[in-house]
């Protein structure tokens, strides 16, 4: 039978496999064929993985963001400093996917060390948006998002620090879940900002998202920040939102820079939620949005400057040629190996942590973070979830923001506050603006994934968004 990778969901693929209508090798081959056909244009992948011989697993294959370690398969975090680095072990999330029978299709592109919102910070060239190849797929998990949207993977692993799953999912018209901090192991995931980093699923449907989250989630003794889930993952079936209390924070919905088309699409989805039975009310997160971005761009670079100190040219990674002494080796290896954005963030983070500035910058940002957490906690006394656009804009043209770091940072304005608070967030496609997908962000309290997935599934069913990019139909 013909396998249409553009429209096939992972769940449907599982059903076909289970019924014996296709073999795992045929399924994986369909994706490697699609990659050969379309990835020269999209550049979702940095390299391919298991050969499609059916021997690497009997399940639905998966694409893995290249900041996640894969044993025996080069892993670079899209940085020159890790060119040629071959992990000696699988990340726990990869091990869990392999345990569930999923072959690894390949490693997807990202902004270097997951620092960016467009994949244009990749040392290996940007990925392109399957809806319009002149536009970015978002980032940093842009390769994973483009792979799923472009029919080059049935589902993918992304990672998220300040919006790196939800924002590219929104820009590529797919579903992305950033789980509650602590629910998914980061063992073997190349660290960026450890108090924020999370791994999560990127999929075509909310049910696929739940199926993959079920595989990934749970305590891992190799990551002491992980916890057991308070309840098992449920695969959503709801088509009603009766009794669900939804808050619409005005600062997240009226922020400067939200495009009119994005606003209209999200407002329509909120109206639809009401018609499905939800109680919808406007609410407020006054300081979370006003100070969230500033808070994030102190805390994340500070943690990054510490995490990235391990790249010193000694044990792995790039080493400068013929250094005269040890200090010069460190300093030249690091300057040569890191691209512009990691250099900037390491410098910024080092400054924010340095003597004389620590209290004013890093310490103050940690206090702002408490405010953000408290504001969200108060909102969740009244609401089950909060709705807003995921991204202020639809996918922007390649090159439009690369000259101005701050213009790029603003892409994460609406995703950052809930990340700072450690909260789960789901992005689902809710419509088109100017022919490009718009994402609806649904944020809940800690460990509320099951409810977010139920809300997302009910809305997705009613919205009936076609995830196949128009130009590829």
């Amino acid at each position: 039978m013909t396998i249409d990778t553009l429209s096939l969901t992972a769940e449907a693929a599982q059903t076909l496999l289970g019924a014996g209508e296709i073999t795992a090798a045929e399924l994986t081959r369909a994706y490697t064929d699609a990659i050969a056909e379309r990835d020269p244009e999209i550049h979702a992948y940095l390299r391919q993985g298991d050969s499609p011989d059916g021997e690497s697993g009997e399940g639905v294959p998966i694409a893995v963001k290249d900041c996640i370690s894969t044993k025996g398969l080069e892993t670079t975090a899209a940085s020159k400093i890790l060119a040629g680095y071959v992990p000696l072990y699988d990340a726990t999330v990869v091990e869990r996917c392999r345990g569930a029978g999923m072959p690894v299709l390949g490693k997807t592109n990202l902004d270097e060390f997951a620092m960016g919102s467009s994949t244009e910070n990749s040392a290996y060239g940007p990925s392109r948006n399957p809806w319009d190849p002149d536009r970015v797929p978002g980032g940093s998990s842009g390769g994973s998002a483009a792979a799923v949207a472009g029919g080059l993977a049935p589902w993918a692993l992304g990672s998220d620090t300040g919006g790196s799953i939800k924002q590219p999912a929104a820009l590529c018209g797919i579903v992305g879940l950033r789980p509650t901090y602590g629910t998914v192991s980061r063992y073997g995931v190349i660290a960026f900002a450890s108090s924020l980093d999370q791994v999560g699923p990127m999929t075509k449907t909310v049910r696929d998202c739940a199926l993959l989250y079920e595989v990934l989630a749970g305590r891992d003794r190799n990551d002491s920040t992980t916890v057991e889930l308070p309840e098992p993952v449920t695969i959503p079936t709801a088509d009603s939102l009766s009794g669900v209390r939804l808050g619409v924070p005005k600062e997240l919905n009226d922020a400067d820079g939200i495009e009119l088309g994005v606003k209209a699409s999200v407002e329509a989805a909120i109206t639809l939620a009401e018609s499905l039975g939800a109680d919808v009310e406007e609410t407020s997160l006054p300081r979370s949005v006003e100070y969230g971005l500033a808070c994030y761009y102190l805390i994340a670079p500070a943690e990054a400057s510490a995490n990235l100190s391990r790249y010193d040219g000694v044990r792995y990674g790039h080493r400068a040629s013929e250094p005269s002494d040890l200090s010069e080796m460190y300093e030249r290896s690091r300057w040569e190996g890191f691209g512009a954005e990691p250099r900037r963030r390491i410098m910024l983070g080092t400054y924010a942590l340095s003597a004389g500035y620590y209290d004013a910058f890093y310490g103050q940002a940690q206090r702002v973070r408490t405010l953000i957490r408290n504001e969200h906690a108060e909102a969740f006394e009244r609401y089950d979830a909060l709705l807003s656009p995921t991204s202020p804009t639809v996918a922007f043209p390649l090159g439009a923001r690369t000259a101005d770091p701050i213009a790029m940072y603003v892409a994460d304005l609406l995703t950052i506050p809930s990340c700072m608070a450690g909260l789960p967030g789901l992005s689902i496609p809710c419509g088109l603006s100017e022919g490009l997908p718009v994402g609806l962000q649904i944020v809940g309290p800690q460990f509320s994934e099951n409810r977010l997935l139920q809300i997302g599934h009910a809305l997705e069913t009613a919205l009936a968004f076609d995830v196949v990019p128009e130009r590829l139909r």
Binding site: Y85, R315, R319, D325, E331
Partner: protein, 95 residues
């Protein structure tokens, strides 16, 4: 907020980055602009607010002390730029 030429050199030294002379001016201007944007956190009086370092209330996570296999020496050296005699070789730290 402004950041001085010498500040950039000082941070580069702390961060172990060999910033070339030709790149200093641009880095200084980019860092200045970013610090201007993020420095607004100072507007708030938060002297009575506890800092938040982590989203979960976890403390002292213990596990059984079980012997686990570790990497073989040759494997641990397999990604090294200059493995030598079972070790990571580096240039001399000084004269």
């Amino acid at each position: 907020m402004s950041i001085e030429h010498d500040d950039v050199l000082h941070i580069a030294r702390l961060a172990r980055l060999a910033v070339p002379e030709s790149e200093l001016a641009q880095l200084r201007s980019e860092l200045g602009a970013i610090l201007e944007a993020v420095g607004r956190v100072a507007e708030l009086d938060l002297s009575d607010v506890e800092p938040m370092s982590h989203p979960l209330d976890l403390a002292n996570v213990w596990d059984e002390d079980e012997l686990q296999p570790s990497l073989e020496r040759d494997d641990a050296l397999s990604n090294a730029p200059d493995p030598h005699d079972g070790s990571f070789r580096v240039p001399a730290a000084g004269e």
